[in-house]
């Protein structure tokens, strides 16, 4: 096992503790936006797609990398937008009060 892999495992374990502890007390009204925002965040795979889309040589690999980039971009752009839309509705409801 090399040093990089070992470090990656450290990162994995610590990040899972972090994620688990981040959301302990969440008001139920924020469950849906939170799920939606976290979902957009899982589009972080866009970084992987970007890294491959420019360097693949074969046709099949390029098609797959581009497809991955399109899907990940939809996930990221759409995900954050839809979350913001939900939250903006909350804030107008609050302002009216």
């Amino acid at each position: 096992m090399n040093g990089t892999l070992l470090l990656s495992i450290y990162v994995l374990v610590l990040a899972s503790f972090l994620g688990y502890e981040l959301l302990t007390k969440v008001p139920p009204m924020l469950h849906t936006p939170l799920m939606s925002g976290a979902n957009a965040m899982s589009g972080v795979t866009i970084v992987g797609a970007l890294g491959l889309a420019g360097v693949t040589s074969g046709a099949v690999a390029t098609v797959m990398a581009t497809l991955a980039l399109i899907l990940a971009t939809i996930n990221v752009v759409g995900g954050f937008l839809v979350t913001d839309r939900m939250l903006s509705q909350f804030s107008t409801a609050k302002d009216r009060r």
Binding site: N39, S42, T45, I46, V47, G58, A68, I74, G79, Q89
Partner: protein, 472 residues
């Protein structure tokens, strides 16, 4: 400091934005800002990655980003508050699929298209090869599972509700996935390896379908949350395959946070995750159609308006039926009309009413219902006995008193809104059809409960009209 080190430092800034953003997203006052921080972290990550790559062939990168952004914006613009759960499910599927395709592209580039022969393990290293396969499996299953979840939310895919020999199918698919995953990373022939990876992707997709297909609509919030967690894990696996720390961190945080949210939801529904996954709510008792009900009182908007005129406290209980009929604005108007008459009016929010946790909050917020009128289940339950009129709009299982029984029904033990204790109850519902649990609701047979059959929005509009006429 080298360029690579700078990139790593900048990635760390991205992760910091993710963590702070998520934390802020979980608080009402800072939620919107939190979402912006998350988006900022993502933008930073994308920009850094583009800069790091320097001079590469950018055609496909531009195509991918532009096409993806256009489709993403277009999808959100077309979505309504009611269809938010479907949209989130779809985006989640795309995220899972993206991770699987990144892993596939890597596999093709490094193994299939590479000159000469060599196994994936030889070319990528053990850790990377294993996680490529893992990413294909998790990503593929997440994608098909999310698509199934979206279809179920639209009311389609009912054919998958009963899958004969489901457990056998699952075990067989799992075995095939294991075999294909192992084979794909140890064979040296590129053509054969490519074929096996495709089999791996297809089998994983089948697992996603079989796993989500029979899950009941009432359990869909839990399922979507779990799928969200899985798409994070798929991204983390891709991160291992590519040796990208940002992907590992971002993916893992989403995976863990999603699991936490899934747990919170399971607690709210008094279901174990295993129970949800095991498929639906067990065998449905037979004869739960309208004929199973005796002495149900049917009423109309006019009569209900008369009762409401005399009421001093009213609680409205919204459910999926309200969202489906897009009746949230009518419900908000009814509340306003009642409040103008000096009636204490509140909305009782069950944590899992609708199709997503907090779904009712989103729907009612769209209709500008003030915060202080929304009351959570635990607080409102104490007040039902002192409430003059309860209006249940398109909610069923979350008001079913048989949940209080210790056992014997599929929803036994689930916390409910105890509307049956109110003085008078009106239930606006299209028919006597059972909710997603598939069981009868004894509330409807109570003497102080009357049914108003019809579309939620139309009935609410009628009520508003009757009440306004009475006031004028």
């Amino acid at each position: 400091m080298t360029g690579a080190e700078l990139v790593h430092l900048a990635y760390l800034a991205s992760v910091a934005l993710f963590v702070v953003g998520l934390k802020r997203l979980a608080r009402v006052r800072t939620a919107r800002q939190g979402n912006l921080l998350l988006a900022g972290g993502m933008l930073l990550a994308v920009v850094i990655t583009l800069v790091e790559q320097g001079r590469v062939e950018v055609t496909w990168i531009v195509v991918g980003l532009v096409v993806g952004a256009v489709i993403g914006v277009w999808t959100v613009l077309r979505a309504t508050a009611t269809s938010m759960p479907q949209v989130v499910a779809r985006f989640n599927g795309f995220g899972g699929a993206a991770s699987a395709f990144v892993a596939l592209a890597l596999f093709w580039d490094e193994v299939v298209d590479a000159a000469g022969s060599g196994t994936a393990i030889e070319r990528l290293g053990v850790a990377s090869a294993v996680t490529v396969a893992l990413s294909v499996v998790i990503g593929g299953a997440t994608a098909s599972g999310s698509i199934a979840a979206e279809a179920k939310l639209w009311g389609r895919l009912t054919a998958l509700t009963r899958i004969p020999g489901r457990s056998v199918l699952m075990v067989a698919s799992a075995a095939l996935v294991l075999a294909a995953a192992t084979t794909s990373i140890v064979v040296a022939d590129p053509g054969f390896a490519a074929g096996v990876v495709v089999v791996l992707l297809v089998t994983s997709a089948v697992i996603g379908l079989v796993a989500v297909g029979p899950v009941g609509g009432a359990d869909m919030p839990v399922m979507i949350s779990l799928l969200n967690s899985l798409s994070g894990l798929a991204a983390a696996a891709t991160g291992f395959a590519l040796g990208n720390t940002l992907l590992i961190m971002g993916g893992t945080i989403v995976g863990a946070a999603g699991l936490m949210l899934t747990r919170i939801m399971c607690v709210a529904m008094n279901r174990t995750l295993w129970n949800v996954l095991a498929g639906g709510l067990g065998a449905m008792p037979s004869g739960d159609d309208a004929s199973a009900y005796e002495h149900v009182v049917s009423s109309d908007a006019e009569e209900a308006a008369m009762v409401l005129e005399a009421a001093r406290s009213v609680v409205i209980v919204p459910g999926y039926g309200l969202a489906a009929a897009r009746g949230q604005h009518s419900a908000a108007e009814l509340a306003d009309v009642l409040a103008d008459r000096g009636v204490q009016v509140r909305f009782a929010i069950h944590p899992v009413a609708g199709r997503m946790p907090g779904h009712m909050n989103v729907v009612l917020a769209e209709a500008d219902v003030p915060y202080d009128r929304l009351v959570e289940m635990d607080r409102i339950n104490r007040d039902f006995a002192a409430t003059d009129v309860v209006i249940v709009v398109g909610a069923n299982d979350v008001t079913n008193p048989s949940a209080r029984q210790a056992s014997g029904t599929p929803i036994a033990g689930m916390p409910i809104l105890e509307v049956d204790q109110a003085q008078r109850i009106f239930v606006i519902k299209r028919s006597l059809s059972p909710g997603y649990s598939g069981i009868k609701n004894p509330l409807y047979e109570q003497d102080n409960c009357a049914m108003i059959f019809g579309d939620a929005k139309e009935v609410l509009d009628d009520l508003v009209q009757e009440l306004s006429a009475a006031t004028a």
